[in-house]
């Protein structure tokens, strides 16, 4: 769902500014989405639904019956009961009013894009909402009966201090969300923030400070009973995200919509699967779907080498780490067979732990994870 009321200055998703989202645009987009679903379902034939994730953009801009229509179409296309059906919600008054209807439509998990509980931070991030709306939305989620709510927070925002990060954590923990995603702000080239940073115009916390923030996040959340099960993901027991796990374990995902990316299941012709990326603009996306041939999508055939590297760096993002047996099952030999030199060096440097059944990052390795991952490419 690519529509957003305003575009955040750090965002590099494929998004369209829609203020407001007209009913015509909404239904036209939905038509395309459903058409794409039917065209693409064949590639996932014989599979059961594991999870549904309505992300964006701002899918909570949709009317409840639109959400119902999408979910109905998906459930009609595949057998199985999804373990998790998530909707991304933006904390603005317009949408909180719809929360009860979303639940009726079949949503059972909310991912709330809070980002911060501090008005100054929210303004510096260029967000449209304020802290009061975050509070109100979270309460509305609970009031609407959502028992599984995730909060997104951003740390190392421009001008943010460690004390402010701590305050955000305290505020977030007060609601005892089932799940928290805490992202260090990343500056993507081409975005207004990225460009400002490239010209040295963005005041960001220094490296030491950012490290302290990330350490503080981990310490506070773990003390409060959350498990850091992925570099940026924290969950109370039993509440890890079912959907996100699929990316880190490289399980098939059917991505629908403008700019969406799919991981098609492996086939005899493509033993390591395909990655399909839809066009990042509305017109070519819609035209591709209308033409019925998915034209415009970029297809990447993964080779063994890429697949191995991805298997390692995606799994190492998680607390469970890389399952040696699973890896050997897919690639014919355990990781050590392919990466002996790298493993020796990384374990010697204290970045990686090598147990008989799994490879895991050490705390230091998590802070330097990209350096670790690069070794496997």
């Amino acid at each position: 769902m690519p529509f957003c009321e305003r575009i955040c200055p750090y965002c590099d998703f494929a998004v369209i500014r829609a203020r407001p989202l007209s009913p015509e645009d909404e239904s036209a987009y939905l038509d395309t989405l459903c058409a794409e679903l039917h065209a693409r379902a064949g590639a996932f034939e014989g599979r059961r639904l594991a999870s549904i994730y309505l992300g964006g953009g701002t899918p909570s801009l949709l009317q409840a019956r639109s959400v119902e229509r999408i979910l109905g179409a998906i459930r009609g296309a595949f057998p199985g009961d999804p373990e998790e059906t998530t909707l991304e919600v933006n904390p603005s008054t317009l949408e909180t009013a719809r929360l009860p209807d979303f639940r009726v439509a079949g949503i059972d998990r909310i991912s709330l894009g809070a980002q911060s509980f501090d008005d100054t931070t929210l303004r510096r991030l260029g967000r449209g909402h304020r802290a009061s709306e975050v509070h109100r939305s979270f309460e509305a989620c609970r009031a609407a009966g959502f028992a599984n709510v995730s909060l997104d927070l951003i740390v190392a925002a421009p001008g943010q201090t460690l004390t402010e990060v701590e305050a955000d954590l305290v505020a977030a923990l007060a609601y005892a969300p089932e799940h928290l995603s805490v992202y260090e702000l990343s500056l993507e080239p081409g975005t207004p923030f990225g460009k400002a940073a490239a010209r040295g115009r963005l005041q960001r916390p220094g490296e030491e400070e950012a490290v302290a923030m990330l350490e503080c996040v981990e310490a506070r959340l773990c003390a409060a009973g959350y498990e850091r099960y992925e570099i940026s993901s924290y969950a109370r027991p039993g509440h890890r995200s079912v959907h996100n796990r699929r990316y880190w374990q490289r399980l098939p995902v059917l991505g629908l919509g403008m700019g969406a990316v799919s991981s098609d299941p492996p086939s005899p012709r493509h033993p390591f699967g395909l990655r399909r990326s839809n066009p990042r603009e509305l017109a070519p996306y819609s035209e591709g779907v209308a033409a019925g041939d998915g034209a415009g999508a970029q297809v990447e055939v993964l080779g063994a080498r890429e697949a191995r590297a991805e298997a390692v760096f995606l799994a190492l993002r998680t607390g469970d780490g890389l399952d040696v047996e699973l890896f050997a099952g897919e690639f014919g030999a355990p990781p050590r067979h392919f990466f002996a030199r790298e493993l020796d060096r990384l374990t010697a440097d204290g970045l990686l732990e090598e147990a008989p059944d799994a490879l895991r990052l050490t705390p230091r390795g998590r802070m330097l994870s990209d350096s670790v991952f690069a070794s496997f490419l």
Partner: protein
Amino acid sequence: MAGDPRIRNFCIVAHIDHGKSTLADRLLEATGTLSDRERRDQFLDKMDLERERGITIKAQTARMPYRAQDGEEYLLNLIDTPGHVDFSYEVSRALQACEGAVLVVDAAQGIEAQTLANAYLAIDAGLEILPVVNKIDLPAADPDRVAQEIEDVVGLDAADVLSVSAKDGRGIDALLERIVAVVPPPRGNPAAELRALIFDSWFDSYVGAVMLVRVVDGSVTAGQRIRMMARGTDREVQELHVLDPHPRKVDCLAAGEVGVVVAGVKTLAEVRVGDTLTDFRQPASEALPGFEDVKPMVFTGLYPVLAENYENLKTALEKLKLNDASLSYEPETSAALGFGFRCGFLGFLHSEIVQERLEREYDLDLIATAPTVRYRVVEKNGRVAEIESPAALPDAADLDRIEEPVILATIHLPPEFVGPVIKLCQERRGTQRDMNHHGSRVQLRYELPLSEVVLDFHDRLKGATRGYGSLDYELQGYRQADLVKLDVMVNADPVDALSLIVHRDKSHQRGTDLARKLKEFIPRQMYEVAIQAAIGTRVIARTTVKALRKNVTAKCYGGDITRKRKLLEKQKEGKRRMKRVGSVEIPQEAFLAALRLDDS
């Protein structure tokens, strides 16, 4: 008996940038050798490197038919040569294949160091010289003054100087006529036993080593069995080509002609530039004189970034040597860098070009150490040795003295820049010999240690004279100097490849600068990196590269995975080009940090 009266072999020589290659373009066009479609500036500069840098590195041959005003059809063979002093070996070889030389002088700049040097080379080779003033279209052009200068300095009659513009084509027809009139037909005897001079060669992956020859006596035909006189090896000629300017197969190359000989030579060492080809059955009794050996002036260590590429580097050097006879090399081992080669070059630009050619043409990642000159060391026990690398310097305690090569530098420049140039020479430990005024130019002569000139003296001279200064030099001999070895330690591991030999008075400054530069080049790593510069056991400078604390991507979901993987690949690629010394990753460029010391 003389050679074919309708052949003219000539080369174009000049100072750098005076317009040789552009003039060659006009000649190729005027004779109809190049079609309009093929036209491009400096057509004969074929290497990417030449086009990127706008200079000629390799001499190139082209053969042109030309109908002269006397109604006769002539065959002109042109060799465009490089102007930079580092490639002067290309010039001296080309001269041996010619009877004439077109000496080009820029109408605005007048005579420069390499104008003279190349003119003398041509005179020594017994060539007829055709002086040409080029770029007369320039507003600052002063052809009469420059013609007079040619008469005064080179001793050629000013009245014989032709004025041309390689830009707008003025004077080109007259030049062609003059070439026919003045350049003698080929010397040599068509009836004698075959003697052909190999004056260039290159490696072709299909047919092996290929030779570019000038047939002096007799003729060579396809299928003929030939002998390479130096080695005494025999081969059968598989193919012959002329370059007009594209390779075109022919059956025979007669006396006076220039062309390519393909003879299935796979053993690279068999072919030596300067050698003579003769007939296997009726060999000539004496080989042609060949070329003088070149004396390398500058030395650097070249190492593969990946140790397993050592053999590839070795083969690459062998192949490149075929095409660049002025390159020399021998195996060398470094504690930090492993197995590599100490290579000798004619100058710093030459060393840069060789490195780039190795990396591009042979797909190698290399580490080069800072250039040094050849020192003479005298030990207390009386032993004398010549060393080309700091690592080879004996222990200070055993040393009686070190002598360094000293050059006599001749610098031409406009008078207004004399002050800054004298200052530059003094900074470089120079001693003034004399200063003379030639018309509007000043000639400064300085004795300078070669080591102070090899790195960036040229650039600094250009900077100090807004591009108008030029430098030529010759080796004077060796002179004792108070030199010391500056060592570098990275996390307490000595890195032999970073050692330098420097003058004691400059050692402290150099050590401090070097440590600081290395800090800039060495990226932050997982652990703190301590950099120290030392003379003997005395540390004279230290600095640290702080540890990398954080390198983490916050988000990684479906849409990002490919992009993230590519980013990581890039990161890895960057690492691949680094050398691990002890526990520290040192990037390629860091080994040349010493070159950048004067930037600050």
